[in-house]
Symmetry: C2
């Protein structure tokens, strides 16, 4: 344990050690606060957007989705990675249509967070979508997901009691619930 006043590490060099369909893995040489050198391995990520679609009656839409790394079906909020050139809100509108089959008249920014600061530069932007209706023509993005509706308050309970265990979904629900309580007149 070193309580250094200067915590900053500086990049000396960088190298791409794996480039796949999904993952871009880097290995850098870094200068540490005590002037020693060390390697830093990390994932370069384009960022992502998560959306909480809230219906008029207070239900929200969630998804069942199988996740290969854990070989489990998770309860998730609709979400997806930014395509090249996309802004976070554009990604949100696109994913809302692709994963939930929905469009909206109100789309509010709730906040952002970093899911894996130890080994990834990923940022996740959170939006709340209201004024929902079904999209006229459904797009097919080859994702296997099963949407379902649940009261917002029930989903928040699931985020706290362990029923929901996906990190981005827990944070999106708890931050969006806090935002919604403060910003919605019902």
């Amino acid at each position: 344990m070193k309580f250094a006043k200067n915590l900053i590490e500086r990049r000396i060099s960088t190298e791409q050690v794996f480039s796949g369909k999904l993952l871009d893995v880097r290995r850098d040489l870094a200068l540490l606060p005590d002037e020693s050198k060390s390697t830093r391995e990390w994932i370069k990520h384009p960022g992502a957007t998560a959306i909480i679609p809230v219906f008029e009656n207070g239900d929200i839409l969630l998804l069942h989705q199988f996740r290969y790394p854990l070989s489990q079906i998770f309860i998730e909020v609709p979400a997806g990675k930014l395509d090249p050139g996309e802004t976070p809100d554009q990604t949100g509108i696109r994913e809302l249509a692709e994963e939930a089959g929905l469009q909206c008249t109100q789309f509010d920014y709730v906040g952002h967070f970093y899911p894996g600061i130890g080994y990834s530069d990923e940022i996740i932007h959170i939006y709340l979508a209201q004024g929902l209706s079904e999209v006229p023509e459904k797009t097919d993005d080859d994702e296997f997901v099963e949407p379902f509706r649940v009261p917002f308050s029930q989903a928040v309970e699931w985020a706290l009691n362990g029923t929901i265990s996906d990190g981005k979904t827990i944070i999106s629900l708890l931050k969006a619930w806090d935002w919604w309580q403060k910003n919605t007149i019902r």
Copy 2:
């Protein structure tokens, strides 16, 4: 968008495509629900434990830590990866001493979550530590961290208002706060 009743993907083969000091990257061939085949890239992770140390007066201990992938200093809960053979609670007790210089008389399991289900099998276990005292002999684990104390309720506000943006810290604080409110007589 495909609403398939069967969401399960099955592993056909697996290959380690990068093995570094920190990261173990795999590329698998998977059989999808519609019988097509696709590659799945993911990080194999040993799991981690996060700890909320709560003092008698209601303060908790947090850390300032620089994170290389984002080149930023974050506010974090003490946390660390499981060493080989360690159980999650053993990791928690070790990290509490190493990162915070503390030992405890009460160590309660709060829950767990998965921070990056899209490309990592990482699980993070959350514990709440009470009955805190300084460890007699401080260990040195070569980590540059700066601990500080803050009221638990203030940290929860930071987790919701964006002051804290590290995913594991947001979830650990909000789940531990909920647990603490329900399980502590004050």
